[in-house]
Symmetry: C2
């Protein structure tokens, strides 16, 4: 495929961190304590950190497999496509899939860095967050000429240091952080915290034009009905995490208080958004008379959505039918490489199926233009 | 208002059981043990049953109040509009609101009879369920010439006796039961139970044309993000209970195994349904290769929706925009009298606002025709 033909920008893919990820990024005195990949007696690989083993070295990294093997988790690096962890191979897989540029969420740190949040030694955890970000920017994205877009982590347990990390990364061109769709579920202050615990972070994102990206599962929870429900029930309902979070943010007042703050929902799709937007406005209106949230949210909540909240779809014609209710400028596209929901390497077939629903201008926005605007890529000079 | 002008059929309203509800419906030997309303020293009313006090005598029964008093719960019968508990007054309020007929969910028993499920003496609890149903059919609906439509309870703890109760009530014209949107949340077998615990109930509903009505909150849960989230977040997300339940049912196989079974979601609205329908089909397709639910659900899950699953809206233009993806025959209307979400007495203003979106035929189906078909009202001769 000729690079001139590459048109997709995917705002939600996943990197599997290679075993040497922390090498050269952690101070020498922490060399022994830093996370390490060990190969166990049974031949599987695991990250070991603070005495705990994490076997999710390649959680759901099933790209390239036949669908009947999707249900089997890879247990070692040799069972994964090199594109999962090697940037040169990733770029080749992006070529195959017609993907110009890609924003990747972490694997071992989990969707927003919960692994580091849960560690006892917070000095080391902070060094790990910084090491991840340095590796992300310098090694994962480094040689890609802008095709691999940096997504950084923050120390979730310290909003002031998180703000510092946002500034440190913005200064070298990173315009996106991974955050939790529901920090209260991680035993952190909720976004409604009376002391406004998150304000330093929100102000830093507001000032630097850093988008807050919230992946489904970044609350360390997924929704299902019951323990004996088929796995398909949980798969069908992953968007509910984004639904709860969208109502939460629209009613939090943060988008009113920080006028340049933008948030993005990753892997949440969009077809459910118009119902939530209509409903939050009606609840806001109905509860005005007895207090409600009017002090925090002076205008109807949906009025803070356009230009400020981005959704992304991988396969969702319902959302495209409703694009005027969402706002075509708020819709981005994702491939979700290398996970089970991924459309790779056939994303272009999905695009071709829905393309007739859109004008050329709308299609360009969804596949590419909105991601460039959301992530400030034109400011970095890498894309126009 | 002339009765010829009454056109709405509301499939989700609420009755507040009057203090004498159980009188004459419980055998004499249980007279002392039956639930009773007591007026407490502070002047508030409470149901007393098995030594426990339930102060929800008029949970959220705020009809007729100015909106700035919606946040204050009524604590005694004298604080409620008589239409909450008196059928003659209810019919008068229905006249005011332009409502021809109404299906009412319980209050003291909770949305699907959880109050009786939680009692220790299951013999008495079964008598209470039967007493409720007798009162519902004979006293609440009795003199209304079909305008108050019976909705019966079942003994949730015993699917065989539940089936018997369905048959007993169907024989006297009742075509609707209240069931839980998620019985597993009530510590009952889930609808995926390997032993098919619910089959006797499902078979009885299938045979008698009894629709299974599931109200939001009938799992004794509502969804919010965090303890300090404003109440508006929970109010905005009530439909998530129906969303989880719809995916659950579509992937359960019950609609394939019981070809005449119909289910209805009450107070869940509909604008989110098309996304779920599209998503469950894609998950079903994607997981076929590794097992998935194909044995239970032989056709794409959404193919069991039309004619079998009903949604209802009280104020949801998103759902109406998407009516072709839902199926116009699956959409019913609700007033939600006397709760806070109710549009009473201004439901007709809501209808007038969305009526231009629909053809006359579509409007008639949503406001009236689909409810008649769903509840089998034409079979009873009360409506045509």
């Amino acid at each position: 495929m000729n690079i001139d033909d590459l048109i997709l920008i995917s705002v939600d893919d996943h990197v599997v961190e290679p075993p040497d990820m922390f090498e050269g990024h952690i101070p020498a005195r922490y060399k022994d304590a830093a996370p390490k990949v060990v190969t166990k007696d049974d031949g599987t690989d695991a990250w070991v950190f603070e005495g705990q083993e994490a076997t999710n070295v390649g959680l759901n990294a099933v790209a390239g497999r036949p669908p009947d093997e999707y249900g089997v988790e890879p247990t070692k690096f040799s069972e994964m496509r090199p594109g999962c962890f090697n940037p040169a191979d990733r770029l080749a897989d992006m070529d195959i899939g017609g993907v110009e540029a890609s924003l990747c969420f972490p694997t071992f740190p989990r969707f927003c860095g919960q692994t580091f949040l849960e560690r006892r030694d917070k000095d080391l955890a902070l060094l790990c967050v910084r090491a991840y970000n340095d590796w992300m920017i310098d090694e994962w994205c480094g040689d890609s000429r802008g095709r691999l877009i940096p997504l950084c982590l923050i120390p979730l347990w310290d909003p002031q240091r998180a703000a510092e990390e946002v500034h440190r990364n913005a200064a070298r061109g990173c315009r996106a952080i991974a955050f939790s769709e529901n920090p209260a579920a991680l035993k952190l202050p909720s976004i409604h915290d009376a002391e406004r615990a998150w304000d330093p972070l929100l102000a830093a994102c507001d000032e630097t034009g850093t988008v807050i990206c919230m992946h489904i599962g970044s609350s360390s929870r997924l929704t299902t009905s019951s323990r004996d429900a088929p796995a398909a029930v949980m798969s069908s309902l992953t968007h509910i995490n984004a639904e709860i979070s969208l109502a939460d943010w629209l009613l939090s007042g943060h988008l009113a208080r920080f006028p340049d703050l933008t948030i993005a929902y990753s892997e949440g799709q969009i077809g459910w958004m118009p119902y939530v937007l209509e409903r939050v406005d009606k609840v806001w209106e109905n509860t005005r008379a007895w207090g409600g949230v009017e002090d925090l949210v002076p205008e109807p909540p949906s009025s803070y959505f356009r230009g400020r909240v981005f959704g992304c779809l991988f396969d969702d014609t319902t959302g495209l039918v409703l694009r005027d209710r969402i706002g075509i400028d708020q819709i981005t596209f994702e491939v979700d490489y290398p996970h089970q929901d991924s459309t790779w390497p056939d994303s272009m077939a999905i695009v071709e199926a829905f393309a007739p629903m859109l004008t050329d201008e709308e299609l360009e926005k969804v596949l590419r233009g909105n991601a460039i605007r959301m992530l400030g890529l034109e400011r970095e000079g890498s894309m126009t």
